[in-house]
Structures are given as C-alpha cells and as structure tokens.
Amino acid sequence: MKPQKNRPEFTPEELLTTMTGGAPIKPAPAPSSLPKLVEPVAKVPPRQADAAGDAVQAAAVYQGACEVVAWAYDACADGAPLDAVPLRAVVRELVDTLSVPNLRLLTLTALDDTENRANRHSVNVAVLAVAIGLRLELSRSSLSRLGVASLLHDTGKVDVPESVLRRSPPFGDAERELLVRHAHAGARRLLQGSDGSAEAMAAALVALEHHRHADGGGYPALEGAGPPVALSRIVSACDFYDSAVFHRSGQPHPFTAHSALERMAIRGGTAFDPVVLRTLIEVVGCYPPGSLVRLSDGYVAVVVSPGAQDPERPWVVPVAGAPRRIVPGEARDLACEAEQEIEVEAVLEPWSMGVDAQAVLRSWMGE
C-alpha cells in the first residue's frame, strides 16, 4: 500500500522563488562524501515500509511509552518506589517494533510536540538507544537495561524548578548550577525509588553520567572515574541529538537533524564515542527524518524515514519540484531499483525554506 499523499501548503513556484529567485536548478557538484557502510543496517530481508498497520502500531507503542514515562517521573517526584515492570514492558515493545523493522517509530522521534516534550524526549532517546542497541546486536537483557536507562535518564529534572526548565538560554550561574545538579538528583532519586534491580541500577548510573563526555569531560566531574560506561555513552549521544534537534541543548537556535549529527561528528572522539556516533548515524540515516533535501532530479523533499538498507537512501516525500514539474506528493524509497540513479544532493534548512517538515511527517504518520 502506498503512503498517504501529501499536499504541501505552498506551490512549487512559491517555494522555488524563495529558494532561488527563479533561477533554474542545476546539478550540484558536491555529492555526499559518506563512505559506504560495511554491512546493511538491518539484517532482516527488506520489508515494505508502508505496511498498513505500521504507523498505527508505532504510534500506539510510542504513546504507551510516553504514558509510562509520565508515570515514572511522577513516581520519582513523589518519592514513591519505582516499579521497573512497566518500563521493561515498554522496552520490550520498542525492541519488538524496531526489530520487525517498523521504522515509523524512528519517524515519530522527529515529530515535535511542545505540550508533551519532556516525556517525548525521554521516549525519543529510548527509541534511538534501543535502535543503536539492535544495530550493535546486543542481547535482550542488555537492551532492556539500555532501554530502561534511556527512559529514565532525565529523572533529575523533577528537582529543577519549572521556571528554570521553561527559561531559554543563556542561564545565570545559579540556574546553570541547578541544571547541572539534575544528573546527581536523578541518580539519587532512582536509587531511592529503585527496587534494586539491574535495570534500576544501570538507569541510576546513566542518569548520573549522561552529560559526561566520552573523554571523561562534561559534567558532573567525577574524580578518579574513568570514561563513562558504554550505556551512558550511548544515551549521551542520543540525548544530545534529540535535544539539539528540538532546541533543548541550550543552544540559541535549533539544529536540523543533519546539522546536529554534523556537530556531533565534529566532536566525535571527545564529547561522543565515535563508534556510538557512527551507529547512531547508521540508525537514523545520514538524512534523518524531518530533513529537507534536494534530490538530483530537481525535487526538494522531506525525509520521512531512514532507509532500511542504506542510510544514504531514505524514504522521502517531495514537496517541491523544478519549474513546470508536477510535485507527486507520494513517498519515494530512494533505495528501490527505480530510484537508484537519484542522489541526495544537498540538505536544506526547512525553516529557511518555509517548509513545514512537521506537517509532512504527520501526514506520513497518518495523523
């Protein structure tokens, strides 16, 4: 079944006027220098990514995860014991969904929702971390620990006043100190509320370390401690990525997903574990969902899903075309044989182009 048609709010001519001032689109000289990956992203046979129930199933899993995270944060804020059973169940569902593979779950991580942002952030980090874990072929018990730790990594935020959390940067010293203390606070709360299970312990450690850098920098400074453990390094990368994309990293302006990855790649080896970063890119693709790209056939398209086989060849929905070309509005799988000639030529900033990539993503998800 084909995905739903997407009709952008603007005409191709309007968009092109904004982009080029009416000049014709020419082939770009600088293709992506991304080397080919050693192995395909998924080991399972290629699967039609537009299965009818995928979007519904992914949305249900995502929504359930958000509710469980909300409950877990409530429990931590109240100092109540934290039962890991629902959290483990969420991770089971995430793993099972991503293993199918149902990559719409990754699309959901690109959707913004200001009303439910804290919970969505935690779930996004969990989805990305679990996807990385699957890519690394971790055992299920390790995936469970990684997933629960990702869901709970920001527990310490319940100790930060809402006024500080709602404030935009730059922060004062006191506010910064409060934000920095959330790592300790989270670890403490998780220890106090934990049932002593392996998941809870790993989650507390990750909550403490998720802002530490791969080279031992970052915060909190832990004297005598080596680099953060592997689980923390994975969550740290996912946390930064999601925060950067949704303007949560303390930066004055949001990044495109591609820019966030680029920025992380520059700091790979110091702030981020290069292996984790590489795996994250393999998972979300070189052009993550929500990216606006220009294709070699002249179309401008929104990436709606990473490719199951090749991270350089995602699923896209064209939103604008060359002059006198019709914008089909249907999703295209750049990995399929018919599209083999098509390349992604450039990445654009959606807000600069006036493109509402979120609307395209929502349409793709059937919302």
């Binding site: 982009m19 020419k26 770009a28 050693v38 359930g64 909300a70 409950w71 944060y73 409530d74 109240d78 039962d83 059973v85 629902p86 483990r88 169940a89 089971r92 913004d112 200001t114 942002r117 804290a118 072929e137 971790l138 299920r140 018990s141 390790s142 319940v158 930060v160 300790h184 670890a187 403490r188 220890l191 106090q192 002593g196 299970s197 392996a198 312990m201 790993a202 507390a204 450690l205 400074a221 005598g224 401690a225 453990v229 592997a230 949560r248 495109t256 790649a265 574990d273 290069p274 292996v275 970063l277 590489r278 795996t279 070189c286 220009r294 450039a346 900033e349 807000w351 600069s352 979120q358």
Partner: protein, 580 residues
C-alpha cells in the same frame, strides 16, 4: 501468526480430541514446572522431565501445527475453546502466565530440549525473593525462538493506585514557530564565494556533508562486547560504580548526606528482598567511597555516625537476615560477607542480628565481628544494656567480656547487677577473668553480696587461678557459724572454690567438711561431703589424696561414698621430689 502456518482446522470431533491432547500437554508442562521449582538445578530428575516434555510438545506440534493460546484468569483458550485442565493440573501455568500480564501464547514447531529447559527454568524460578525479574521480561530476555507471547500494554502494568498527578517539568518551549524564527548561523566556508558558487540553492542554505567518525564494524563489535561484559551476569547491570561516583562527587556535607541516604535506601531495598550479596557489594562500595572522601575524614564522630546511620538501617539488616533464614537454600557465605563488611558506626546492625536470629553459626560470627568493631569503643553497646530481653544483655556481656584490655570493665560492672542470672554469670565470669585488679576485687566482693544469685556465679567465676588470700577469706567464711545456714548450692560452690584457689592449708577444713556426716547417717550421699571430696581432689596434693583415702575407710556411708568416688575419678597425684 506463524511462519509454519496456523494450526490445521479440525472437525468438531477432531477438535475435541486435539484439545484433549493439548490439555494433556499443558498438564505435563505444569507438572514439569513443579519439578523445576522443587528440585535443584543439576538434579537428574529435571533432565528426565525436560526430555519427556520436549518429546510430548514435539508430537503435539507435529500433529496439530503451531499452538496458539489465549491466557485468561480461568485457564487457557485454544481457538476460542477452553481447555479442560480440571483434574489434571493445579492450574498453576495459566495463573502464572496471566499474573505476569501475558494474554496470548504462541508455540511454534518444534522447540529443542535446550529451549524447553530454558523455558522451564524461567517459568519455574521463584520470583518472590531476591532480585528476580518479572516473568514476562525474563521470558522475553530468554529469547526463545519457538515461544512468543503477547502481553498487556505497558500502561496497564503501572501499579495502582496511580500516584497523584505531579506537575511534570517541561523543557523550555520553542516559543515562536520554527518557520518564522529569524535565522542566524555561523558563516559557511563558501559564504565569501557565493557569487561564484555553482549551487542552485543559495550558498547560505548549503549544509556540508557529514564527516563520519573513522570506525568500522569491528569497533561496533568491540562496543557490544563492552556492553555485554559490563552487564551480563552482573546483578547491578554494570551500575555498581555509581555508588562511589555518587558519594565521591559530593562536596558539601548536606549533598553528601543526600547521596548516602539514597544509597542507604537502596541497601534497605536489597536487604528487604533478601539479596544479601548485593547489599554487601553496595555497602562495601559506599564505605570505601566514604573513607576516601576528604570531607568525611575531618567530620566529628557524631556526624560520621549520622552518615553511617543513613547508610545502613539496623532494622533493615534484621529483616534481611530473616529473609535470608527463610530462603530454602541459604548461603552462609553471603551473610558472612555482609557481617564482615559492617563497620564500627554500624555496630547496632550487628546487635539487631543477634537479637533476631536464633542460628548459632550466625550469632557466633556476629559476636566475633562485634568484638572487633567495638574493641576501641565499647560504649556503642551501652544503649543495648537498657534492653529488657535477657539474651540481648547476655550477648552484650559476652562481647564486652571478650574485648581485649580493660575498656569494657566499667560497663561489665554495671551489667553485673542485671536481673537475669545468666547475664550476671556472664559478667562475673568476664570480670573474674580480667587482668584488672579492680575487676577481680569487685568479683571477690560479690561473693559476700547480699544477693545470692550474684554470690554463686562470683564464687564459680573465681576458680580460674590459685589465690591464697582469697582462699583464706573463703575458709574463714566456711568456718563461720553462718555457713551452715547458707543454701546447699552456695555451700557447695564455696567449698568448690576453696579447692580451686586454695593450697594445703585448706586440707583440714575440707577433711572436716568431708567427714561431717555421722557414722549412723544412712543416706546414700551428702552434697557437702561430695563437694569437699571434690575440693580435695582439686587441691592436687598428696596430702589431700591421703585425706581422701582416710575418709574412704569411714563408717559413714555418705563420707565413704564421696571419698571413693573422688578417688575413683581422679588419679593419685605424684609425690613431690625430696629437695637435694
């Protein structure tokens, strides 16, 4: 649902027969579970049960294809029909699965023996204690290729009652829509050559391609190994370093207290679940971090005690010991490790163990550790002297008695007036054994105390060394007229002590006491005579032996009997060699 296809449709009669067979298979499964629950891991019977269940499952799956069950509270449904399990099983399997939130179960053809063994192992594990996972998670993590299940949505697993809604912290909102946000960014490399650039898209919108980190699949494998090694087989999921990080990173005392309290809560959880090994590991890690913390070294004693009090709750230790004792196969090494880890500020935890456990081995080890930790500060045990339970006081007395030096003397002197005789006896024995002159004087005074219950243990406790002065005082008392009015038990004790501490000077007195009964006394025995005979033996001198031999020729039956018994039971002491 199954790559091997659904179960073949059957006629009504055929379906009935198939259901019978499947029900029998479920019954065998339940019986196997019981076997796995009750028998230890390497038991040969488990292997047999596993083998037969594997064969049965294989037969059923080959005959009827993949099995799909709906799990309800009342039992299992197959293709909408309830399987009749009554009379075959105790219904434990459906209840077990339903309680774990599992609502549908799929079994594909055909699991091998190892898989069935793993499945039974997971299902048969006792999850009421320790750090065992919930069943659904454990079954999922076991990754059984032929067994799948559908569980209730995670939201339904949230424990009820749900906590009151709390204002969730929200991240700073974006504020203005993204599309209308003014765009500012760092200059791009091609900004200066925008005119010359061949890009159709304006250069300001160009984003350079990604520069990927230089690593490959082998690095990913290394990362996987790192994760697995840190988490596999580790009950903390690799999270134990957290304890030292959390404590070590706190600069001020208040923050440190908060972290220690959090770790203490974790230890309490672990103890409550009977996970002593894990509690031991966390306690050791926390104490090590506290010892290395620069602020802790400079803290006054009370503050240190407060920190350790936050770390280890004595009541939780008692609960943990009870949970451990109730375990079907308690491992003493787990408890031993925890006991050995307890430090001086947590002495109360050891006392709680002594209070709540009746296991001799445990009590002995706890006492031993208590003696070590209280060696320099026996005052930590002072609060326990106020307890009304006699055995608590006796434990304290035992510990105090074994503390080297005279640190505990004052407390022992206080405890010596305890209302329970067993406690007094312990104290008096400890004081009598003390090298302190004060303590020994105190015990000698106790032999003349108004309280008979104190005199007796004091008399018995003084028998550990020859003391001519004490012997003289005791002989004077024995010659006194009031001696005959003392209770027999006390007279016996006094005579015994004279024998233990005295010398040849006591022989006349003891011989006279031995020969006190008249020749007409027809009793079989006399306790005073027997005590005197025993005391003569204890003198270990030839004169005393000769006195016994003389008494053995007495016409009085009790005297003769006592002397003969003493001679029979003890050999003749050697004659001292003549000088020169």
């Amino acid at each position: 649902l199954s790559p091997h296809g659904p179960a073949a449709p059957a006629s009504a009669k055929g379906a009935g027969l198939a259901d019978e067979l499947v029900a029998e298979c479920i019954a065998a499964w339940t019986r196997a579970l019981r076997t796995y629950r009750e028998l230890r891991t390497a038991h040969p019977l488990r292997e047999g049960v596993c083998e037969s269940l594997t064969t049965l499952l294989r037969d059923v799956l080959q005959t009827h294809g993949a099995l799909h069950f709906q799990v309800t509270l009342d039992g299992l449904l197959r293709e909408g029909r309830s399987l009749s399990l009554a009379g075959r099983t105790d219904h434990s399997l459906p209840a077990l699965l339903h309680g774990a939130g599992i609502r549908e179960l799929f079994i594909e053809p055909s699991p091998d023996r190892a898989e069935v063994d793993a499945m039974l192992d997971v299902l048969g594990k006792d999850r009421s204690a320790g750090l065992a996972q919930d069943l659904a998670s454990a079954l999922w993590e076991a990754n059984l290729p032929h067994l799948r299940f559908v569980s209730v949505p995670p939201v339904q697993l949230i424990p009820t009652p749900r906590p009151p809604a709390h204002g969730l912290p929200m991240w700073p909102p974006c504020g203005v829509p993204v599309a209308s946000r003014p765009r500012t960014r760092a200059p791009r490399p091609n900004d200066e050559n925008e005119e010359a650039d061949d890009w159709t898209v304006p250069n300001a919108m160009w984003i350079p391609p990604l520069t990927l980190p230089d690593c490959d699949r082998f690095d990913q494998v290394r990362l996987r190994v790192e994760v697995e090694e840190a988490t596999q087989g580790d009950p903390f999921g690799g999270g134990l370093p957290l304890i030292s990080h959390l404590i070590g990173a706190q600069a001020d005392e208040e923050e440190l207290g908060g972290s220690v309290s959090a770790v203490g809560t974790l230890i309490t959880h672990l103890l409550d679940r009977g996970a002593l090994r894990e509690a031991h590991a966390v306690l050791a890690s926390a104490q090590q971090a506290l010892h290395m913390h620069p602020a802790v070294a400079g803290l006054p004693g009370a503050s240190r005690d407060h920190l350790w009090g936050l770390l280890l709750d004595p009541q939780a230790v008692a609960r943990g010991v009870r949970a451990w004792e109730n375990h079907p196969e308690p491992d003493f090494k787990e408890l031993q490790g925890l006991i050995d880890e307890i430090e001086e500020p947590s002495a109360d935890a050891l006392c709680e163990m002594l209070l709540h456990s009746g296991m001799v081995k445990l009590r002995r080890h706890a006492c031993h550790r208590l003696i070590q930790v209280c060696a320099t500060c026996p005052d930590r045990l002072r609060p326990w002297l106020q307890r009304t339970e006699w055995y608590v006081a006796r434990n304290v007395a035992y510990v105090l008695a074994n503390i080297p030096g005279n640190e505990a003397e004052e407390m022992l002197l206080q405890l010596v007036h305890h209302e329970d005789g067993r406690v007094r006896q312990e104290c008096v024995a400890a004081l009598a054994a003390s090298s302190s002159v004060t303590a020994r004087e105190a015990v000698i005074e106790m032999t003349e105390d108004a309280e008979p219950s104190l005199r007796l243990p004091a008399l018995r406790a003084l028998r550990n060394a020859r003391d001519p002065i004490l012997a003289g005082r005791l002989q004077d008392r024995a010659k006194d007229r009031s001696f005959g009015q003392l209770p027999v038990e006390e007279r016996v004790a006094l005579i015994g002590t004279i024998g233990a501490v005295g010398g040849p000077q006591a022989i006349p007195l003891l011989e006279s006491l031995l020969c006190q009964p008249s020749p007409l006394d027809r009793r079989e025995s006399d306790p005073i005579s027997e005590a005197a005979a025993g005391a003569l033996v204890a003198l270990e001198t030839p004169e005393a032996h000769r006195a016994l031999q003389r008494a053995a020729k007495s016409w009085s039956r009790p005297v003769k009997s006592a002397a003969e018994k003493a001679l029979r039971d003890h050999p003749v002491p050697p004659e001292p060699e003549a000088e020169g």
